[in-house]
């Protein structure tokens, strides 16, 4: 129930931010449509810990901040590799183990690897993640397991 209320609030916030028309009639329509959407989602039973991960709380925002810095560094690395391929281009493919237990945690980890330029998740099977890396630096970044530990820390209080 808490998730349904939260979904309604999120929908309402997005509606208010995107609409820009604040006459009583239009705002009334907005509230009505958000209520209806939340009600239908509740009836369809699609609001759960995966579609609306409220349990992650503020920790996920801290993780996003860290991830953004990593993306920034990885971008510079990939740009360097493209401009000077003979020195930096060392493509490799290897398996790493995801230590998250839930599906959501594994998806966050695999998507974070893909979002960081220079590393792409090719396959996710059980807890084995197959990664293709562009340079040695990016390969070592994934193998060090730093990102894996951080995602696990985001997930662990919830499990």
């Amino acid at each position: 129930m808490l998730r349904t209320v939260s979904l309604f609030l999120v929908l309402m916030a997005v509606w208010l931010l995107l609409s820009g028309h604040y006459t009583p009639l239009i705002t009334g329509f907005g509230i009505a449509s958000c209520l209806l959407s939340a009600l239908i989602a509740y009836r369809m039973d699609v609001i759960d810990h995966e579609s609306h991960p409220l349990q992650l709380g503020p920790r996920i925002f801290l993780y996003w901040g860290w991830l953004f810095i990593e993306i920034f560094k990885a971008n510079l690395d990939v740009a360097k590799c493209i401009l000077f391929p003979s020195k930096n281009l060392r493509p490799s493919m290897f398996m790493v183990t995801a230590s998250q237990k839930s599906d959501l945690g594994k998806v966050i980890y695999a998507n974070s690897i893909t979002l960081t330029p220079g590393t792409v998740t090719v396959d996710l099977d059980g807890d084995q993640v197959m990664v293709h890396a562009l340079t040695e630096i990016s390969a070592q970044g994934v193998m060090s397991g730093d990102m894996d530990r951080r995602v696990t820390k985001v997930m662990e209080a919830t499990s």
Partner: protein, 112 residues
């Protein structure tokens, strides 16, 4: 203040455009599909971010800013999904990556 915002926009847009240029260069220059996906990843992440933040500096503090920032958020959520779908599809189809780095022999067998 106006001037500072304009300079900020210029710097961000030029940096983003430069990254896009390198991305396009990489798409042609890199040897195979898997490495080219990495080049595309730059356009998905930092280049998009820099250009849209640069544009949102020009829109003032309004609803347009929010919309521009929402675009960044959506691209950041959908970009990796598309990259993964591409990499996974070519992997399942049996395309072998060209490797010369820290490769493990068992991975090559699985691509058969």
């Amino acid at each position: 203040m106006e001037l500072a915002l304009d300079i900020g926009t210029w710097v961000l847009l030029l940096a983003g455009s430069l990254l896009l240029l390198i991305t396009g260069f990489g798409l042609i220059r890199l040897p195979d599909l898997y490495t080219r996906i990495h080049a595309g990843g730059m356009a998905d992440t930092l280049a998009t971010f820099l250009i849209f933040v640069g544009l949102s500096l020009q829109s003032g503090f309004s609803l347009v800013t929010v919309k521009l920032l929402l675009v960044i958020a959506f691209v950041f959520f959908t970009g990796p999904t598309a990259s993964y779908a591409l990499a996974q599809a070519s992997f399942v189809a049996g395309l072998k990556p060209k490797l010369d780095g820290l490769s493990e022999s068992e991975d090559k067998d699985e691509t058969d």
